[in-house]
Point group: C2
Chain length 473, copies 2
């Protein structure tokens, strides 16, 4: 019998509940802090999210029901395939068994639809007719546009200007799903106008686009119908929506009687990585895991928030509209190098990832985009799938481990999350093949500068950090 290439499940097997890691964390998540009161508080959050999303954000329930209406839309592409990387194994001549969960078959081509669909659903249920958001590479924006078209909601997307110009096809995709798209910084918002006044050629950053989308939602009620804001990563509710990935993988691996020795994923805000590892982390906590599984997050050297950043409190956006989030950060004024993994260019990370990293429940390391694309070339030519630039970082790590397995002759089972296809990123491949990619490394000094600035801005921050972050209960 030949090896099954695509391990598929039936639509009935789409999970009926998302898994929420919060009650299983080694210690409770530090609270958000409202910079105005300097005390725990969520600031503007209640003004821009539907109630059910806020409930999920702070929920201590381990399992959260997935509405039937959401599962109905999930059926378009879920359960997503788990591939056995037979071609890659052969190309590497490795004894390792490599699997990848492929989220690229979704309508928007990435894992982002796992969260955009429930987010739009809960907004629609609470009577919201328009939502705003930001997008970097365009993956979240197009996922939101797709979900909005499914439930008849209007979507307004602020797209980081460099991506808007570099990836016009992503914009047209959002338009095709019926969304309106503005290059950020834009003239639509005060935050955007302020930046453009100071620097008309500003090419944008995710932090800026968040400020614009949040401001649009906050101000919308004054001039028209109230709109809500949506976010594509970092927040708990987003990460938990993504657990359909790992929950499905567990069932899929059961059908071939296998279990991973290590799981790999790239991290931008951390949602796709959370989606695949949380259910396996639950096995660990519940003492159901048949073996010790390493959980490995890979970030770009150009944006090394966990490996080089500071674990402290910081804003999620440039304009400091969001509350202070307990996370590893490069500073909210971080301006990313123009690497092609647009989805990984965010200065912060999901607070849950920070806790897991601090508690050594996960490992993290950084790879540069040139070595990532080297890995992508091997993968494309052996597996036939062209990966998104974000995913290539995980592939690099997996290939390294597979080489080690060859040396030691170990039959390890390696699993990674292939978050999406690279069809909208072919210009990045073009530049790679032309030798134009730089192996950017973010300088440690710049992190120190940003953190110093942050501490000057909020002199009381160190105390808050000590109180909520360093003093583990």
């Amino acid at each position: 019998m030949p090896i099954t290439k695509k391990i598929l499940l039936k639509e009935e097997d789409i999970p009926k509940q998302w898994y929420n890691i919060t009650p299983d964390l080694p210690h409770p998540l530090p609270p958000f802090i409202d910079p105005k009161t300097k005390e725990p508080g969520v600031g503007i959050v209640p003004q821009i999210f539907p109630k059910e999303i806020i409930n999920q954000e702070i929920s201590q329930e381990r399992w959260i029901n997935i509405p039937e209406e959401v599962r109905e839309i999930y059926r378009i592409w879920r359960p997503s395939p788990l591939f056995r990387a037979t071609g890659l194994e052969k190309a590497l001549k490795t004894p390792a068994k490599i699997y990848y969960k492929y989220e690229g078959t979704s309508p928007a081509g990435s894992h982002k639809t796992n969260s955009s669909v429930p987010q739009i659903y809960y907004n629609m249920k609470e009577g919201i007719e328009r939502v705003t958001t930001e997008t970097g590479a365009g993956q979240w924006g197009s996922a939101l546009a797709f979900a909005a078209s499914m439930f008849g909601v209007q979507a307004t997307v602020y797209m980081v200007k460099s991506s808007y110009e570099q990836k016009p096809y992503r914009k047209m995709m959002m338009n095709t799903f019926g969304a309106e798209v503005f290059a950020s910084p834009s003239k639509q918002t005060a935050a955007g106008r302020k930046i453009l006044e100071e620097d008309p050629d500003n090419s944008g950053a995710l932090g800026t686009a968040i400020s614009e989308a949040v401001e649009d939602a906050l101000e919308s009620g004054k001039t028209g119908k109230k709109a809500n804001y949506t976010i594509g990563s970092v927040f708990n509710h987003v990460c938990l929506h993504q657990t359909v990935e790992g929950l499905e993988v567990k069932k899929q691996l059961e059908t071939v009687d296998d279990y991973p020795d290590a799981i790999y994923g790239c991290i931008g805000g951390g949602s796709s990585f959370s989606g695949i590892i949380w259910p396996f982390y639950h096995d660990r906590i519940a003492k159901k895991a048949p073996k010790e599984t390493k959980l490995i997050a890979i970030e770009p050297t150009a944006c090394p928030k966990v490996t080089k950043g500071e674990y402290t409190y910081d804003h999620g956006d440039t304009a400091k509209l969001t509350p202070l989030v307990p996370m590893h950060t490069l500073g909210h004024d971080f301006m990313p190098a123009p690497i092609h993994a647009g989805g990984l260019r965010y200065h912060g990370i999901a607070p849950t990832i920070s806790v897991l990293a601090q508690e050594k429940q996960i490992n993290t390391f950084a790879v540069n985009q040139v070595e990532a694309f080297n890995a992508a070339k091997i993968f494309s030519q052996s597996e036939g799938i062209i990966p998104s630039p974000e995913s290539t970082h995980a592939i690099k790590a997996v290939i390294d481990e597979a080489h080690k397995c060859k040396e030691t002759n170990e039959t390890k089972t390696l699993l990674f999350i292939l978050t999406g296809h690279g069809f909208f990123d072919m210009s990045a491949y073009g530049e790679y093949f032309n030798g134009n990619l730089q192996p950017y490394e973010y300088p440690t000094e710049k992190v120190a500068e940003s953190i110093e600035k942050l501490q000057k801005l909020y002199p009381w921050l160190k105390d808050a950090q000590k109180k909520y972050i360093q003093n583990k209960p």
Copy 2:
């Protein structure tokens, strides 16, 4: 129980044989004619194809075994999903049941890999290390590049210059799979150089690119290792490779106890349409069909070979290198309007389609690209899949029929082939949303002119036509 959205099969269900329509046609296919001898003959064909492909091209066997090595690669994406268009049905409020076979999950994003994989396989088996081909929209070229990377063969692709410039991402995709790509007309071949001398700004045509790819293969043995030529449509061996589509659909529909009242597909060279209808035509001939099924081919009004063209003998390429093929044609000097369905801009059609059309076994009509994109918008926003511009022509026809079903309250079962996704065609969507698309209609006079020229070139052509085409045995 909710309706199953994606009807899936197991990898074991990938067909073990392709179906060949030739022995089941109402009359034998007219022979190719060698213009030098004016007699039946295949001209250069034996010099540029592997033996097994030629055997398949002329085979009278109804069933042809699919090599295990080919099925192994097919496993990457086959069996492809059959979708129930629940979202579209709801949007149209139609009682019709609509299904579509989706070939966009393949590595190159279209049905073309169904034939590129076996073509590369047979070449590799016969010791060929390099193959050449032409590509219009880039779908065939990237499918060939993918297949070549799977079997370690080198691919050289001549890409119609207008597409090369309009779709740089397709070129980069081919490069990622390891292929070399030239804009056609190119300086690589005598045929290309001749055209460039006369018209340096010539933006290319599929017929020209074919001439270049054929010449490269023909001449290759003189200066280096012999290369072979490959073709992405029109020829019998290509159409029969595509029957995995229809063979899978039949199994998939059995699982939901349904059978189509009508099957729709767009036609460029005719291979994806053949792939889906041939197995149902076999049911008709074998008297196994539970009902009368209409088989409907849709072509663009900008390239109406079957609805406006002449059923006669013509070359497959501009430079008249190929033998004369018995088919509906707009003339081999046809210069297409710049419609975005690049895969439909070919002047001729598969000879089998011509026989089926002449014998009224299939229906054909033409739609323009504006109405096609109108349909694509409805489809994208209700089904979440952005279709390739080619497929939108079939969607337009299906939506029209679904509207009729609503008027007459008929629960017809409609099936269409969704040949691929439109992720590489977002600029076409951009132009559509900007109102820049023209509803081109190819003028009847121009067809008459081209046919007259053809008849002047080969004054004996009318006799051949009478002998082999009009005199049905």
